[in-house]
Amino acid sequence: MMTAAAHAMADERRSRPGRATITSSLGRWVCIALTLGFLAALLLAPLAIVVTTALGKGIGAYLESFSDSDAGAAIRLTLLTAAIVVPVNTVFGIAAAWAIAKFEFHGKSLLITLIDLPFAVSPVIAGLVYVLLFGMQGWFGHWLQDRDISIIFAVPGIVLATLFVTFPYIARELIPLMQQLGNDEEEAAITLGASGWMTFVRVTVPKVRWGLLYGIILCNARAMGEFGAVSVVSGHIRGLTTTMPLHIEILYNEYNFVGAFAVASLLMLLAVVTLIAKNVIEWRMNKGRG
């Protein structure tokens, strides 16, 4: 995200007289053409083909794709996963940001690095580690089997793997924001006799609400769209342990392209809504600062 000052500087540069005569040369058109061409091939064409393939056999066939009970189950499982993962990571993100931004203690930068760790690890590894813990031959495999609890190839595994990959999203939005805003207002509230919870709800939350929402939206998009980690722990049991991305894979491998792209179009819609929300929030945050 660019800062408001950087935006202002870029705007000023674009509108600067004299700059236009230099930049309206060949270079300008080559750069714009390369940008548009590259993005058209790599970004716009794939987005467009999702829509045209999904609607390739008419709107009737498109809607038919969702009446399938497996598709319905996949959509419900995706929503359920996000409904568990996003609130849990929100609570974690707030706790981590409070501890890290409000206090000075030893080992803080190590803690921040460790929180970011899931971003550096392949989603396949995120799935693998849970299989090694809870799978049949895993550390707790027998213990779980004796008690008839299934985590791998079941919904709990999907939730755990999704928690892992979305772990840093909210914390890493909130930590820099809360550090930047400082502690003065919270300290004033506490000194004047407000309780800790009251200070958090009345003072901190209003200050960071846009950043918090930003993190929640990105976390949600990743939670609903995660493929690699979930694929490893799911076992791909149709109608039971397939989320929407996994359902896309199954339909695609069965050459049911209309069905696969129809489900994909829903996830694409989610991505578009996420991007719009993200831009609205960025605009609000920049306005708030300026």
Binding site: R14, T23, T35, V91, A95, F105, Q137, W139, E187, F227
Partner: protein, 279 residues
């Protein structure tokens, strides 16, 4: 507790730090430790045999090579795109700017099947490449295309703020003193954005190394030819070869730590340059 932290009037330190470390341990650190421990139980000869297996080595070559190539393509085009977005005004600029984040928001399974459809032999773009003998889908080229897409925002978003902060008066002064556009680019702009380019490249490369979803659809997954390392882990898990999967997973985890270190070094280098000034 007060011995390792500075005093503060604010409450909740023990509660929030306790919850944070507990949750971090349970969800991230304990599972990762399980991978390391599992690897430690593997017989050394077996471990080496899995890692140096021909199929594994072929997958490292593809994963590293394609990620490197995608990172380079992204560095070049990321710079051009960032430059265009920061320096030029044209209709739809804001929309294009917003679209750059699409690969972050778009689920990888969706970009995977969509890229495959576009670059297949009869696809919108694939059909124009076919007469030149260029096959993208189901070859290593397709892997590079998928990795380029998912890495693109890293470079653009690193370079954009750096480009916006190149001081206009420095450029103006250079031009007034008779510098050509090329000289301004080489001596003022590139040195200023070099750390951002390096950061963007490293982030894109690191992400590409671990990427799975968008690659497996377009790669075709032929053993020895178009299998990436993460896919090999999945294949071993499907065969219930936990030791083999753990061995490869351990190597990938090691790679991730090296990349984390590289990212920190690159960023530290960038900060030092910012303080010292370019050149």
């Amino acid at each position: 507790m007060s011995s390792f932290r500075q005093p503060s009037v604010l409450p909740g330190f023990g509660l929030t730090l306790g919850f944070t470390t507990f949750f971090l341990g349970a969800i991230v650190l304990l599972p990762l430790a399980a991978l390391v421990l599992k690897t430690a139980t593997i017989d050394w000869n077996h471990f080496v045999q899995v890692l140096l297996d021909k199929r594994s080595v072929a997958s490292y070559r593809l994963s590293l090579g394609a990620s490197l190539l995608a990172g380079c393509i992204n560095t070049v085009f990321g710079f051009i795109i960032a430059w265009t977005l920061v320096r030029y005004e044209f209709p739809g600029r804001k929309l294009i700017d917003a679209l750059i984040d699409m690969p972050f928001a778009l689920p990888t399974a969706v970009s995977g099947i969509a890229l495959t459809a576009v670059f297949a032999k009869n696809g919108w773009i694939g059909r124009y490449l076919e007469p030149f003998g260029i096959q993208v889908a189901y070859t290593w080229v397709g892997v590079v295309v998928a990795l380029t897409l998912i890495g693109l925002p890293f470079v653009v978003r690193s370079v954009q703020p750096a480009l916006a902060e190149v001081q206009a008066d420095l450029e103006d002064a250079a031009e007034t003193l008779g510098a050509s556009r090329r000289q301004v680019m080489r001596h003022i702009i590139l040195p200023t954005v070099a750390p951002a380019l390096a950061t963007g490249f490293t982030l894109a490369f690191a992400r590409a190394l671990g990427e799975y979803g968008s690659v497996i659809f377009i790669a075709g997954n032929l053993p020895m030819k178009t299998e990436i390392t993460p896919l090999l882990i999945v294949i071993k898990l499907e065969q219930f070869d936990y030791a083999g999967a753990a061995a490869l997973g351990f190597i990938m985890l090691l790679g991730s730590f090296i990349m984390l270190l590289a990212i920190n070094l690159v960023q530290a280098w960038g900060r030092r340059r910012m303080v010292a000034g370019p050149g």
